[in-house]
């Protein structure tokens, strides 16, 4: 039987995004944002947007494929796919699902996208307005545990306690994103630099998360076009090959009321080995890391679970000088990511990974053959992917 793999079978042919806005400041509706991002990605790929024959998204994106296809004048809809699960956990899986579709002949040209207008719809960072909390929520919300930060932080507290990880490690993750955003005109925090003193003086959201450990709340959309690898030679840009994608979570991650057996975790314990096995690469082969920051503590655990350091080495690795392009040994979130470019549920990280492979990032790393994108941590399922240049095939 032939090897079952996505390795080298599909390319990201084009990337696109709208301008990124603070929540509530988009002049466009969420659906219009989705359309704009998809058109931008199609233009970047040099294709007629009407030739897109599949749509893949995640996190219950509200902009469903049939409506998009009708609006865009899609000639034929062949693939419409939603990755279950909340937050940005599904971002890499959506790209992987699109690649699986074009690899297996289910479709020829699939767009993976995310559109989010928190101004038009609800903000993520607020609690419920309902008078009752039922089901599993009944066991947390009446105790004031309801926002994403509050749902996840006790994982981080326990992890830092177990391994002696210091606040300065979280701070370095935040500083790296803000550092990179200062070179990125797309970034919402462009022109809003952050330093150690400003971080330390910022208010607590929930300990150990300062304000700057938490992602933004934004409006915008981003999209990537995925095509079979045999189309790579026709593309206007250097192709970014998908070397692997993996999703899921380990044993009973979603056990109710914080009862997951492997609790102090980003939930990549089983996902990361699958990712590296398909890519036939290990963490030492990765040149640039894009790692979803819902909260810096999730980045910490994601990096450990993807093998970039042992838990006890986190204080040494997570220093600003190690994390910034082009000189750092592990350039991290080189566009500014969810903290400082835009909280586009991680799809902005996929776009940045492609820019790194192409060599056109505003914070270009010196080595750029293999780039990892680690999706939203601490939710379930989670997902991650690895892109490679032609040299990695």
């Amino acid at each position: 039987m032939a090897e079952r793999t996505l390795r080298g079978q599909a390319v990201i042919a084009g990337i696109g995004e709208t301008p990124y806005y603070k929540y509530g400041q988009s002049p466009d509706s969420e659906f219009k944002l989705a359309l704009r991002a998809i058109l931008a990605a199609a233009k970047d790929a040099g294709i007629d947007p009407k030739d897109i024959d599949g749509f893949a998204s995640y996190s219950n994106d509200r902009n469903d494929p049939s409506r998009l296809a009708a609006a865009l004048g899609t000639k034929e809809l062949r693939f419409s796919n939603m990755q279950w699960g909340g937050g940005g956990g599904g971002v890499a899986a959506a790209v992987g699902n699109a690649a699986a579709a074009v690899t297996t002949g289910m479709a020829n040209c699939v767009v993976a996208f995310r559109a989010l207008a928190q101004g038009q719809f609800a903000r993520f960072g607020r609690g419920t307005g309902a008078p009752l909390a039922s089901g599993d929520d009944a066991f947390t919300i009446p105790y004031g545990v309801m926002s994403p930060a509050q749902k996840f932080v006790m994982k981080v507290v326990r992890f830092m306690h177990d391994h002696g990880v210091k606040q300065e490690a979280l701070r370095a993750i935040s500083l790296a994103s803000y550092h990179h955003a200062q070179n990125n005109p797309r970034a919402v925090m462009h022109g809003r630099p952050l330093d150690e003193a400003k971080y330390d003086a910022s208010r607590w959201i929930v300990e150990p998360f300062h304000l700057f450990d938490c992602c933004l709340e934004n409006d915008g959309a981003a999209a990537v076009i995925i095509m079979p690898a045999d189309r790579a030679k026709d593309l206007p840009h250097k192709p970014s090959y998908l070397l692997s994608a993996a999703g899921g979570s380990d044993h009973r991650c979603a056990a109710p009321i914080h009862n997951g057996p492997n609790y102090p975790s980003s939930h990549f314990a089983t996902v990361a080995p699958n990712l590296y096995a398909m890519a036939k690469l290990g963490p030492k082969d990765i040149d640039v890391v894009q790692c979803y920051e819902n909260f810096t503590g999730g980045v910490l655990m994601s990096l450990v679970e993807h093998g970039f350091c042992a838990p006890e080495e986190a204080n040494d690795l997570l220093r600003l000088e190690n994390l910034i392009a082009p000189t750092g040994k592990m350039p991290l979130n080189t566009s500014g990511g969810n903290l400082a470019e835009c909280y586009m549920h991680g799809l902005e990280l996929v776009n940045e990974a492609v820019r790194q492979i192409r060599g056109v990032s505003v914070n270009q790393a010196s080595k750029n053959d293999a780039v990892i994108v680690i999706g939203g941590p601490m939710v379930t399922p989670v997902s991650s992917l690895i892109l490679g240049s032609e040299a990695t095939l």
Binding site: G125, S134, G135, I141, Y143, R158, W204, N259
Partner: protein, 144 residues
């Protein structure tokens, strides 16, 4: 006097009734946890099936309200109008050694700025909301 201000969402067993025995137990100051008759293991949170042996034969059994702090959080930023201006408060994740180390979430009573010892021993404190409609009882924790 409740630990958190009034006005937060009240707990409800929900339409499916899965957790009704738990919430009825708290009204009588009893901590009831699921126990599988099929494989004699504790299970929490409430589920329709035992995750070990896949039996549907789940009982509710009383467990002593003693636990150990597994993790915690000190929350400063209010995300609900009822908490505006309230200041920090602590939520704890407590393991129950008498019930297979299942974990429960509650508030940690006392000074909201206290140092919280992971591994510290706690006991359950039942906080009755008798004037709510319908009445309910929350389960908090206190260091011992």
């Amino acid at each position: 006097m409740s630990y958190l201000p009034e006005g937060l969402p009240a707990p409800s067993a929900g339409a499916d009734g899965l957790s009704t025995p738990y919430w009825e137990g708290t009204r009588r100051e009893k901590l009831l946890i699921q126990f599988c008759r099929g494989c004699s293991h504790w299970q929490w949170g409430p589920e329709w099936i035992c995750h070990r042996c896949n039996s549907f034969d789940l009982d509710w059994r009383e467990v002593e309200g003693r636990g150990v702090i597994y993790s915690y959080q000190r929350i400063w930023h209010p995300v609900h109008p009822a908490l505006n201006g309230h200041g920090p408060y602590i939520a704890a994740l407590v393991e129950l050694p008498a019930a297979g180390n299942v974990r429960m979430v509650g508030n940690l009573l006392g000074d909201p700025k206290q140092d919280v010892p992971i591994g510290g021993s706690v006991e359950a404190v039942f906080e009755h909301h008798d004037s709510a409609a319908p009445p309910f009882t929350l389960v908090h924790w206190r260091l011992i």
